[in-house]
Amino acid sequence: MAAPAKARDLCSAALRRAEQHAQVTHVEVRWLSEQSERLRVRDGAPDGISSGRSAGFSVRLIASGAWGFACTGDAAEAAVHRMVDEAVAIARASARLSEKPVRFPPRGGEVGEYSTPLEIDPFTVPLETKLADLATPEAELRRGGAPIHSAEAWMHWTAVDKLLMTSEGTNVSQRLIYGGVGLSAIAVGSDGRMQRRSFPGFPGSEGQQGGYEIVARTGLMAAAPRVRSEAIELLGAEQCPEGVRDVLLGSNQMALQIHESCGHPTELDRALGAEISLAGGSFLQPEDLGKLRYGSEIVTLTADSIAPTGLGTFGWDDEGSPARKAPLVDRGVFVDYLSSRETAAALGRESTATVRADGWNRVPMIRMVNVSLEPRAGSLEDLVADTADGILFDVNQSWSIDDLRLNFQFSCELAWEIKRGKRVRLLRDARYTGMTPRFWQSCDAICGPEEARIWGLMLCGKGDPIQSMAVAHGAPPGRFRKVEVGHT
């Protein structure tokens, strides 16, 4: 879908304004308009039914060899001119502190349009239909009452229209539509102990690019009875025993494992120290490229911005680099980063097209796209049958990893103990912990494409001020040998 003529005119006006400043050597002007809808039903009552709109312009430019960024929500030519002048003033001031001018590699301009393929535009579906699609499964979760203490179901939709025009001649407009549905039940036992079960994955991991067809595909109603009974069963389950076991990760937990231990440490800005002020650094340093054994031979991870339904899918990133798919870890060896044009150039490489901003008033930065584990073969049940003594973890409950992305600890809602190839019982409060490369090096089985799902994480936080980005992970289940497990 083409951006509105007024937005296009104002972006052009901003570019012209920037060209009037002699010190300016590169300009990117963005317009972004976002429409959103959030619905939640909790314990039989609406709990926030909201819709939102946000729109504005931003400019990122290089003047006097330094970066400047400014933005405005005011769609008037004078405001857009003022925005450009502010960015130039910032860049000129910053240049006084710079030891070396910004090296931003030139590239040819990109021209085109991209939009999310979808069947049903979610913004055309009546509110009554949406609320019914939530209220029915939410009521099913509460059917029978105690020990189910609280239940909720939610739905969210976002449509982003954006236009990028640059001094290199890039002129691309995109329309991205994504959303998701989920539910959760909380059971509280007579001893005050609490257990939560969620579906389709941990809350906030249900996002997909597409339309309202996602609701039928997810199937909340079909899942609700199982979610309720598992929450109740967990109240009476034994704690996960401490020890070293083989660990199987279900698809949803595998997505978070990829996110925290591969996605973030392969962000090149982190590796170069640009994200210390909130998120930390990375154990993956440039000298490790092509050498460091990140995982076993069967582990290949990719940065993919073309996968259907992925939240990291687009036509171009926010620097105008076209979407692509390329390995980050190839047969176990660390081979590339998620990068921007500037950071990639610092290593003599090309951008892997991962730069995005979470709104019109934030600076674009390296973000995960669809960072995915390549599937191998076999079903999850085959993998269970092949495991003599292990624990199958799925649906994340807590997550923590150190500032270099090495030492991690995750706990999950679900932990099935496996004995002699069979699931024998659910365990509660289960956690596993490890060191990233050692953990991935212990991976000896990855399931096939029929078990792999792309999970969309809605709230990946990064940057300062914090930016919340929708990212995704293609995640087949897999097995890891001799992992430290225990209870919280």
Binding site: G48, A89, R96, L97, L127, G273
Partner: protein, 458 residues
């Protein structure tokens, strides 16, 4: 635009839309944000954050709409959008209505500095220049942020309530790094104040440099229980998580909170007092919440006994109490139920961190924490996280050598039961997930804090 002008705009929009039951909350923040990394000022930005959120109720059917245009017409349009939606929303029998003019007036808190509001790009660069020089001279790399924010906010309801407020906040965070990417030694400093002129950038930079230099060549320790001094920023982060999992009425209702079913019972050390104190010297929040309700002091834990949680108008009506003025600002991280804005942990009697360290024969001093998570077992407030930016071995009551990052996993409330000292002085840390939110905390000495895994190795 002033806060009063914004409030008049909201009132005019309400009048133009003509809805009998409506509420409008609007904010506009202007931020000069100088973010530097490895000695380069790579993200220096002028940011605008406009936000308008309206709620309309039709016979207890409540709908919300938002926009980012601060104009009477756009706001009236948002009200009409919510009004069109409301009839399709199921009735919320617990909806208490929007606040009216009988709502008590908030205190007039002076949290505005002209210098912060007018700070220019040149001034930020001027202030950062000696920071860069000092860190470079120490052979280290400068990373951090200097943020100068001015903010106006206003609330108006169709029942005649009107509030407005103007505030500023200047924040400086600095790291001195041995190497880019964070794999070497690091030191950290931080300060925040309404007035940019009151920030002591030099002292915080010196602290970061000193800690980075004494953190080089860190050794390792095995997992185990260690007597530990947690720096004020480490305790503040744990208290933030306690707020997230359990100090709001929603978590209490859902049975998720460590306070659920335990109000009036002792849940942690008798020496532990925690209060929501938005009116005191350690807070940056506006004196009213998004519903226009005046914020007030709320005892949460007193002498280790669970006293209560914070409320908005809806949860307060369900609980049969008054709102504490803690309706969450829309759109923030974790926004939803009511949440504290300005937490204060009462300090102890120790005159310094060194005094706390002096009481440990063998243990750890942890300056800050990283990636804490409190969802492991919320009813017990079990949390995990890692040390960063300065972890030191204590031997014979003195810091003797640096240690690599360690992971702790423990119940905060049970760990505090084992605490036997806090500093008198508090450090105030603005949080990153809500405008004006903060935690003020002392450093604390905890006996036998559980470190579940030792130092890291590739």
């Amino acid at each position: 635009m002033t806060g009063a002008e914004l409030a008049r705009m909201l009132t005019a929009a309400l009048a133009a839309a003509g809805e009998p039951e409506a509420e409008v909350y609007a904010t506009f923040a202007k931020r000069g944000f100088a973010r530097f990394a490895v000695g380069e000022l790579g993200q220096h930005m002028q940011l605008e954050d406009p936000s308008v959120v309206v709620r309309v109720a039709r016979h207890r059917r409540v709908a919300e709409a938002s926009c980012t245009v601060l104009g009477e017409q756009a706001i009236a349009d948002a009200i009409r959008t919510a009004a069109r939606t409301a009839p399709s929303v199921p009735r919320d029998e617990g909806f208490p209505g929007f606040a009216g003019p009988d709502e008590p007036s908030p205190l007039a808190l002076a949290r505005y500095s002209e210098r912060t509001a007018r700070a220019s790009a040149e001034e930020r660069v001027e202030l950062l220049s000696p920071v860069f020089r000092r860190i470079r001279a120490a052979g280290l790399l400068a990373t951090g942020v200097l943020d100068t924010t001015s903010r106006i906010e206003a609330v108006a309801t169709s029942h005649g309530l009107t509030r407005s407020y103007e505030s500023t906040l200047a924040t400086f965070k600095v790291w001195a790094l041995e190497s880019a990417g964070g794999s070497g030694a690091a030191g950290h400093g931080m300060c925040a104040h309404v007035d940019l002129g009151a920030l002591d950038l030099e002292a915080q930079t010196e602290l970061a440099v000193t800690d980075a230099l004494r953190s080089r060549n860190a050794g390792s320790l095995p997992a185990g229980q260690y007597d530990t001094v947690l720096g004020a920023l480490a305790l503040a982060e744990l208290v933030e998580w306690l707020a997230m999992i359990g100090l709001g009425a929603r978590e209490l209702e859902q049975g998720l909170s460590p306070l659920s079913g335990r109000l009036g019972q002792r849940i942690t050390a008798e020496s532990f007092d925690l209060m929501e104190d938005p009116l005191g010297a350690h807070a940056f929040a506006a004196p009213f919440d998004r519903e226009g309700v005046a914020r007030r002091q709320v005892p949460l834990i007193r002498a280790g006994v669970a006293q209560g949680v914070v409320h908005d108008r809806t949860t307060a009506a369900r609980a049969g109490v008054g709102s504490t003025g803690n309706a969450s600002a829309p759109g923030g991280f974790g926004a939803g139920g009511p949440s504290p804005s300005s937490l204060v942990v009462q300090g102890g009697s120790a005159e310094s961190v060194d005094e706390l360290i002096g009481g440990i024969e063998r243990g750890l001093y942890v300056r800050r924490l990283h990636y804490v998570n409190g969802y492991l077992e919320p009813r017990r407030a079990v949390m995990t996280g890692l040390s960063r930016d300065g972890t030191f071995l204590i031997e014979g009551g003195k810091v003797t050598k640096p240690i690599e990052s360690m992971r702790f996993t423990d119940s905060l409330l049970e760990a505090l039961e084992r605490s036997d000292g806090m500093t008198r002085a508090l450090t105030v840390a603005p949080n990153w997930w809500s405008a004006g939110g903060s935690v003020a905390a002392p450093a604390v000495r905890i006996r036998g804090l559980n470190f579940s895994s030792g130092s890291r190795q590739k």
